[in-house]
Subunit: 165 residues, 2 copies
């Protein structure tokens, strides 16, 4: 198993790689990764825990950015359109996209113990979704696929929440 959000890794690399990638993509596409947009992306990548819009807003405010809701929602809208992040509907929170080169909605593992999210792109899931849709003559535009539970790391930890009696 490769490195994931759930296993220990050099996260500063995740951040710098995501930002570099975003800058390149925006340049290629002729769109502007303005300071507030880049900062929101950095904040989203601060950890693998999805972050809410108002939490982002508070962080921006601390740093002297404009801090009215439209500011952050506009940045999130831009970043979403560029495929640089995903919204997790079951959490109303946002997480950086691991692979922003090609449009996709992704599949997510959400750990309720550590609150981290790992994006997947499973061809088995895509195939199963397609199969179900086809059976009903349904044409898929997009999807929300969020698998909620407990990650490997948290399963292996001594259970801190239920100490022995």
């Amino acid at each position: 198993m490769q490195a994931t959000a759930f296993s220990p890794h050099d996260h500063s690399h995740c951040i710098s790689s995501a930002i570099d990638h975003a800058q390149n993509l925006c340049t290629e596409r002729g769109v502007r990764l303005t300071p507030v947009r880049q900062r929101v992306l950095e904040l989203v990548w601060r950890s693998h825990q999805p972050i809410g819009a108002y939490e982002l807003l508070a962080a921006l405010a601390k740093e002297g950015f404009n801090s009215a809701p439209p500011t952050v929602y506009r940045a999130l809208e831009f970043l979403g359109e560029q495929g640089l992040l995903h919204k997790l509907d079951s959490l109303n929170a946002y997480v950086g996209c691991c692979n922003p080169d090609t449009p996709h909605q992704g599949h997510f593992l959400l750990c309720e113990a550590c609150n981290k999210a790992q994006e997947l792109e499973s061809q088995y899931i895509n195939l199963a979704l397609k199969l179900s849709a086809d059976q009903h003559g349904f044409e898929i535009q997009r999807h929300t696929i969020e698998i909620i539970g407990t990650c490997k790391e948290c399963l292996e930890k001594p259970n801190l929440l239920e100490p022995t009696l």
Copy 2:
């Protein structure tokens, strides 16, 4: 293909069957399907279009029920716990469950043209989710699976939204 939310059918049968089923389940389980709970369930089943909490609230108000938000959210919470409805996270709306006997989260086809939802329970999807989770040592507790697009009926309709020039 059997009857679905998307195809024409005797919907009054859907409603009465859902309510009968709910009454039986609640009796068996020793829980109370009180008037407001039953009415909310009926309203949710009013159509196959998922309905929002505040739309339910407005409908209850018209009928003389108490109409403060906690009233409807409590009813939704109860009905959700009893497996009688599902929340669709991508819509913030609620839809009646077709098969409330056994606990499940379901998979949903959501048509953006007619706004109807069809619940599925695809073993292929379940298997594909399990496979992805297992590959990461992830233990699934629940999931949100919403497939958004256009249903068969709407695909077959002459396109009313884009008239010929």
